[in-house]
Amino acid sequence: MLAVETKYFGTLSLAEESVFHFPQGLPAFEEEKSFVLIEAPKLTEAPKEDAPLVFLQSATRSSLCFAAFPIQAVDKGYQLAIAAEDLEDLGLDVERQPDLYTEVMVLALVSLNDKLLATANLMAPIVLNLKTRCGLQAIRRDSRYSHQHPVAPGVARENTAEGAC
């Protein structure tokens, strides 16, 4: 077992296999190479159906923890467009996009904008290879999705249809 000091949930004892390796780190956090995924809605007050919030906690730096949503929770029809180089780095088939449920988990990092509204980054999702436990942030080459997608019904729909920002 691995004891991980977390930003929000104290020290958690996790199986070694629950660690995801990020060989390149994340942009602005390049030195952080391992993260654990904390999927424990019961730790928070929100009902699971309303906010399937998950946390990407650095395994080595307790103060670094990202909140994220599974991307399909933000946009049910989200179309993956992972670049070939990223697919290769993830150890996935470069000829096709991976299956969202069986091969990869894709997360949109959540942040608060200047108006303190929650936004999700749909332009640069975190892609986790469920088989190899390897992950990276796959920045889209197109401008179909926003990096500050408002986590809101209606608004969310319109934005994804046309690709705002």
């Binding site: 929000y8 994340l26 942009p27 602005a28 956090f29 730790l43 928070t44 007050e45 929100a46 159906e49 309303d50 906010a51 399937p52 919030l53 670094l64 923890c65 990202f66 909140a67 949503f69 929770a73 933000v74 049910k76 990092l109 959540v110 942040s111 608060l112 303190l116 509204l117 929650a118 936004t119 980054n121 332009m123 640069a124 942030q137 920045i139 889209r140 080459r141 990096h147 500050q148 408002p150 986590v151 809101a152 019904p153 209606g154 608004v155 969310a156 729909r157």
Partner: protein, 85 residues
């Protein structure tokens, strides 16, 4: 924004020390080469945006604050799914 038309092999100079050359144009896009002093940071714009966005995302306060903001912004899943549009 200044707009210039360039053919493959042609360059644009920015100041005295930065040269941008259009190397090739293919179906996939334009390939450009950049010659600049070592101290000049050259980044794909989306990488810069991602760095800034990640920095912002890492600043989250408490889980409670976050959930309140999310609640305030929307009801997410169920409400998006049942949205008439």
């Amino acid at each position: 924004m200044l707009v210039l038309r360039r053919r493959a092999g042609e360059s644009v100079l920015i100041g005295d020390e930065i040269e941008i050359e259009l190397l090739a144009i293919t179906q996939q896009g334009a390939k450009i080469g950049i010659r600049a002093p070592k101290e000049t940071v050259v980044l794909r714009k989306e990488l810069k945006i991602t760095q800034e966005q990640n920095t912002r995302a890492a600043q989250g306060g408490s889980v409670k604050d976050l959930e309140q903001a999310i609640k305030k912004t929307a009801g997410l899943n169920s409400r998006i799914d049942s949205s008439p549009r």
